[in-house]
């Protein structure tokens, strides 16, 4: 079946502009995660959605970052007034907690802020 998809695959933006990154999880997966991987670093947890529960936003680095998940499916991560330190690969993952702990990752969006 279809895996997790993310768009765009690459995004170059100027410092100060807003960007939106999209994630389409695997159909039926109730949990959705956003991570960030900066150059030479591990995966940094950003936010977690599970069903209709309030999201766990504890990993969002600043109030410039926000995310929403509409209809329990597609999710959008928005970064306002981008800074050069926001440059990273943004990864989305989904899982079905009733079937196990494994997360299924999308290919990521490489964001470059110039």
């Amino acid at each position: 079946g279809a895996g997790v998809s993310q768009s765009p695959s690459n995004k170059v933006t100027e410092k100060g502009k807003d960007v939106e990154l999209r994630c389409d999880p695997i159909s039926g997966h109730t949990a959705l995660y956003w991570y960030r991987q900066s150059l030479g670093q591990g995966l940094e947890f950003l936010i977690y959605f599970q069903g209709n529960s309030a999201p766990d936003k504890s990993g969002l680095p600043s109030d410039r970052f926000s995310a929403e998940r509409t209809g329990g499916s597609v999710s959008t991560l928005t970064i306002q007034r981008t800074q050069q330190e926001d440059s990273a690969v943004y990864l989305c993952a989904s899982s079905n907690p009733s079937q196990g702990y494994e997360q299924y990752f999308g290919p990521g969006t490489r964001l470059t802020v110039t």
Partner: protein, 114 residues
């Protein structure tokens, strides 16, 4: 405060030999551990997991060992193949981080030499 550490950023192994990737954690409340493999320009893919009630889990060429007293886990790949060349991440969940929130290590780049 890095709760999950992979202290070896890279490892080179001859084809056919054993690869051993190590991971240390600090939070004794972690109760589930996963290994992911990541190829360039792709999202991580799940490899193998282990619950804290076990000390070993095997899947084909991959075996994960957990030493709870040392807060250490390792991934053994035997025999290693050139296609195993990738970045390997360990991840942990449980305790105050919550069941479904994963803390990732910084990854180890494995190179299997033909």
């Amino acid at each position: 405060d890095q709760q999950v550490k992979q202290n070896s950023p890279s490892l080179s192994v001859q084809e056919g030999r054993i690869s051993i990737l190590n991971c240390d954690y600090t939070n004794s409340m972690f109760d589930y551990f996963l290994w992911y493999k990541k190829y360039p320009a792709e999202g991580p893919t799940f490899l193998i997991s282990i619950s804290s009630i076990k000390d070993k889990n095997e899947d084909g060429r991959f075996t994960v060992f957990l030493n709870k007293s040392a807060k250490h886990l390792s991934l053994h790949i035997v025999p290693s193949q050139p296609g195993d060349s990738a970045v390997y991440f360990c991840a942990a969940s449980g305790g105050t981080s919550g069941t479904y929130k994963y803390i990732f290590g910084t990854g180890t780049r494995l190179k299997v030499l033909a």
